[in-house]
């Protein structure tokens, strides 16, 4: 039923119906925005990248193959766009402590829960930021979207074995970054304990 509806919206959008495409934007805004946010780590940049993704999808709708899932196609566009954006920024690997964190508080949560959630998001973003853009994208598609190796390979224009090796490398890097972060925090706590109080 949902797929029929989606196919109808795609077909109407192909005829130039903006409203039909706006329905697709409404339906898939969350997964696309989440991917962009996880890739870029900044709410405003993620909004811009997600908007650009939908714009590119709308302009390139003729290239969409209806036998593939529409959301997979969208996420593929978003991944490539974010990877290009990060490369253009000439982002180098930054020490984990130096990375800024973003919080996205949910108004429905209590202040304590919102702070805790914000800290968790921040921690995850810091970890993801230690990965190179393609590895990061593979990790996001694998863990947040539960994509198979084959789907990730299709989305990122890689081979399945390349995806497996990238994920393996990314897992190791994430665990290493986690350990480093933990050691850094423990050192900071020790330093604070032994320092004289500031007056």
């Amino acid at each position: 039923m949902e797929q029929n509806q989606e196919a109808a919206w795609v077909s109407q959008a192909l005829k130039g119906d903006e409203q039909a495409f706006a329905q697709l934007v409404e339906r898939y805004q969350r997964p696309v925005f989440n991917l962009c946010y996880r890739m870029l780590g900044d709410e405003y940049e993620a909004e811009d990248a997600a908007q650009e993704t939908f714009l590119r999808a709308y302009r390139g709708l003729k290239r969409y193959d209806p036998s593939r899932s529409f959301i997979t196609w969208l996420l593929s566009i978003a991944s490539h766009y974010c990877i290009d954006l990060i490369r253009r920024r000439r982002m180098v690997l930054i020490p984990i402590e130096a990375l800024p964190g973003e919080t996205l508080p949910d108004p429905a949560l209590t202040p304590e829960a919102a702070v805790r959630l914000g800290e968790d998001q921040q921690q995850i973003q810091r970890l993801l930021a230690t990965l190179n853009p393609i590895d990061r994208s593979a990790v996001i598609l694998y863990y947040w979207y539960e994509y198979s190796y084959e789907e990730i390979a299709q989305s990122l224009s890689l081979t399945e074995s390349a995806v497996k090796s990238r994920l393996h490398r990314a897992r190791k890097a994430l665990a290493g970054a986690w350990q480093e972060n933990k050691t850094g925090s423990e050192k900071a706590v020790k330093r604070t304990r032994h320092e004289s109080p500031a007056f």
């Binding site: 997964p31 925005f33 665990a175 986690w178």
Partner: protein, 175 residues
Amino acid sequence: MNHQPFEELIFAGTELSLEDGLRLQLHLQSCEQCLALAEAWRQVETKISTSSLVEPAPGFSTRWQQRLRQDNMRIQRRQSLLVFAGGVGLALVFLILLALTVLFAYDSPLEWLLTLSNRLVVIFTLAETFQMSLIILQSAIPLGWWLSAGVAVMALCLLWIFSLQKLALNGRHPS
């Protein structure tokens, strides 16, 4: 000790076979380094798996539609500019070709100047004849008719400017 085969198992990302699982467990009991790595990965995996999808601020699709309209305008402006630049380019090529034709059609600059002055005399004579015929027409046609014709020409000019602005500069936006 070679930790590589055990790291392969820790970061395999899939369910391990019974044999591999036991082999890894045995190694972790005696290797603090791999145990710390396995524990770190377990914590990261838990963190990721409990993290939900983040949502954009409300009104995302409305903002997208606004952006699409702006993008349409930008594309139309660029197309208008391209058409204008193409027109100017063609006119320039035409003028250059005309200038070359004129230059090669005459033997000397004096001959060219004489022909030009002759042509100007013809143009001025034609303009004078047109002026005379207008004076005759002015006395033959009543003033009211002249005013009506003037108003009609002005209305057509306004219509032309309005349609040019609407179609070429701003573009057509389906609601």
